[in-house]
């Protein structure tokens, strides 16, 4: 069987939808803690429901990833690059789940209602603990900025494949045309 040369359509759609949402979340998170203006509560109001949406979409995405074959990396790619690519993808998946779960858990440990919108509150997933809250909110910040660096690296690698190596790796996620790349070759 010939391996696919692109990610499955649902995988591509989910990838770009999540890319926008996660990048938005990182800007919202970093922006809200940088200010004591009206933007702080306004951004926090978006931060919680958007974060929980990311958690739901991440579950969907994992399902798609496990039920569809991913295109292989080019055989010519140096071994180290393959290992780094694989490893970073695992980290990206892990953070898509970890960030919203830690956000939810830290507010639970804080004893603060996890409000999605007025009148709708998620149940706590941890019992009230000041120390756990302190620790989790620190980890949420640390992993948040780590996530941003990882995404920058991921984007850099994608551009390296697309603009410099021009090996079809970027196209395997970024092409939405009806014709397969193979047909063009």
């Amino acid at each position: 069987m010939i391996p696919p040369d692109r990610y499955a359509l649902p995988a591509r759609v989910l990838h770009w939808a999540m890319a926008m949402m996660i990048l938005a979340m990182l800007f919202v998170g970093a922006g809200m803690v940088s200010t004591a203006s009206w933007a702080y509560p306004a951004l926090l109001t978006w931060h919680r429901p958007l974060g929980v949406t990311i958690l739901v979409v991440a579950m969907l995405r994992l399902l798609v990833r496990l039920t569809h074959r991913a295109p292989p990396l080019p055989a010519a790619l140096p071994r180290l690059q393959t290992v780094v690519a694989r490893g970073s993808h695992y980290f990206l998946y892990a953070l898509m789940f970890a960030m919203p779960l830690i956000g939810w858990a830290m507010l639970s440990a804080a004893g603060t209602p996890v409000q999605l919108w007025p009148g709708t509150i998620l149940p706590p997933i941890l019992s009230h603990s000041l120390r756990l809250f302190g620790w989790l909110s620190w980890v949420h910040g640390l992993l948040g900025y780590g996530f941003f660096l990882l995404i920058l690296g991921h984007l850099g690698a994608a551009l390296f494949h697309g603009l410099i190596r021009r090996d079809g790796v970027l196209r395997s996620m970024a092409s939405f045309g009806t014709r397969s790349d193979r047909a063009r070759k």
């Binding site: 990182l26 800007f27 970093a30 922006g31 803690v33 940088s34 200010t35 004591a36 203006s37 009206w38 933007a39 702080y40 509560p41 926090l44 804080a110 004893g111 603060t112 209602p113 409000q115 007025p118 009148g119 509150i121 998620l122 149940p123 009230h128 603990s129 000041l130 120390r131 809250f133 302190g134 620790w135 909110s137 620190w138 941003f148 920058l152 984007l155 850099g156 551009l159 390296f160 603009l163 410099i164 190596r165």
Partner: protein, 359 residues
């Protein structure tokens, strides 16, 4: 990087770098790293620590000295026309916990100081909703914006020797802030309640109530005590025993429930909702919407009020913040203080502040 196989490689590399650089730069700007003067919850709390001169690890950066209370709120139904919040439904009985406190960052400070006497409350509503409040015994606040609050913390830092603020810096702040002069004059002349049990506690900030038909109205509110008011003798404040007010409340609570009426003050046409430093004029309606009954009181170490944050923007459906900029600033600063003290763990010791601060 593989050897450059292509003469047009340089612009492509440059493009890659430019895209990554632009995103990183935008992120740094949003995060405030390019604008160190931006006022944030963290920078306000830094200024409060600077003012204290000490960080009391694990303690609140303001209102550090406190006492835990609990009880219930009985709604009489009169508030239901103003707000659809479950707290105001006729006959609703809502569990409440809370915290009495005195202003200042030092949890060991003596009670005989001319500072805010405060009450924080946490109403636990059905469905996981909560309404949290932090109230002071004055109807007005000392500044009207978070930026001014931060500047005031820095300008009013007491000198380690004279225990007084630098007169030059303080005079400069007061010269440009008539509202702060008004507040200080008020604090000087207004009586201090002789007990936590007989003080009136004010929302100070304006909020918005929305009722069942979707009508929204700006309000302030206050808790008015059933215990008779009496005042501390301001001339002999420094002779008051260190924990006089806390001990007095524990004694009062052991004699029976302590009650307050929640009185809502709807704004009149022309009232400023965005300035907590000005009092609303005379001629306002007053709506008594129910009774707060505090039945239990315990020292902070054995209560459950220490480990929560009384963020004034934790609000139930039917209540929202107004355009008062202090509310957002408070929410951001309470969160920063809460995160710091949680990370430090429950209070242990104090350490001197040696961080620099932009003056």
């Amino acid at each position: 990087m593989p050897p450059d196989p292509h003469p047009r490689m340089l612009p492509r590399l440059a493009l890659t770098g430019a895209i990554l650089g632009a995103i990183a730069l935008l992120f740094a700007w949003v995060a405030g790293w390019l604008t160190p003067g931006r006022v944030s919850g963290g920078s306000i709390v830094d200024a409060m620590q600077y003012n204290s001169g000490k960080v009391f690890l694990g303690a609140r950066r303001a209102h550090a000295k406190g006492l835990c209370v609990s009880g219930r709120f009985a709604s009489n139904g009169a508030g239901a026309t103003l707000s659809r919040t479950l707290l105001f439904q006729a006959g609703a009985m809502t569990p409440v916990s809370g915290r009495f406190s005195l202003a200042g960052g030092n949890p060991d400070a003596p009670d005989g100081r001319n500072v805010f006497h405060a009450l924080a409350l946490r109403f636990v509503l059905p469905g996981g909703e909560e309404w949290r409040m932090a109230l002071d015994h004055t109807p007005i606040f000392i500044v009207s914006t978070p930026t001014d609050f931060q500047a005031f913390q820095i300008a009013s830092k007491p000198d380690s020797v004279t225990k007084m603020p630098d007169p030059v810096r303080m005079a400069a702040f007061l010269a440009s802030h008539p509202e702060t002069r008004r507040f200080m004059a008020y604090m000087k002349s207004a009586p201090l309640p002789s007990s936590f049990a007989n003080g009136t506690y004010y929302s100070i900030n304006a909020f918005r109530f929305t009722n069942n038909t979707g009508e929204t109205h700006a309000v302030r509110w206050q808790f008015e005590p059933e215990d008779n008011f009496s005042a501390l003798d301001k001339a002999s404040l420094d002779r008051l025993p260190t924990d006089a007010l806390f001990d007095k409340y524990l004694a009062r609570a052991s004699q029976g429930p302590v009650r307050w009426h929640l009185v809502i003050i709807p704004s009149n046409h022309g009232d400023a909702t965005n300035n907590a430093a000005v009092q609303w004029g005379p001629g306002h309606g007053r709506i008594d919407v129910g009774t707060l009954t505090l039945t239990h009181a315990v020292p902070e170490v054995s209560g459950d009020c220490r480990d929560v944050v009384f963020d004034p923007l934790i609000l139930p459906d039917g209540v929202s913040g107004s355009d008062d900029p202090l509310l957002a600033g408070r929410s951001a600063a309470y969160s920063a203080s809460f995160r710091r003290r949680a990370k430090e763990g429950p209070r242990r010791v104090s350490v001197p502040v040696n961080q620099g601060i932009a003056k």
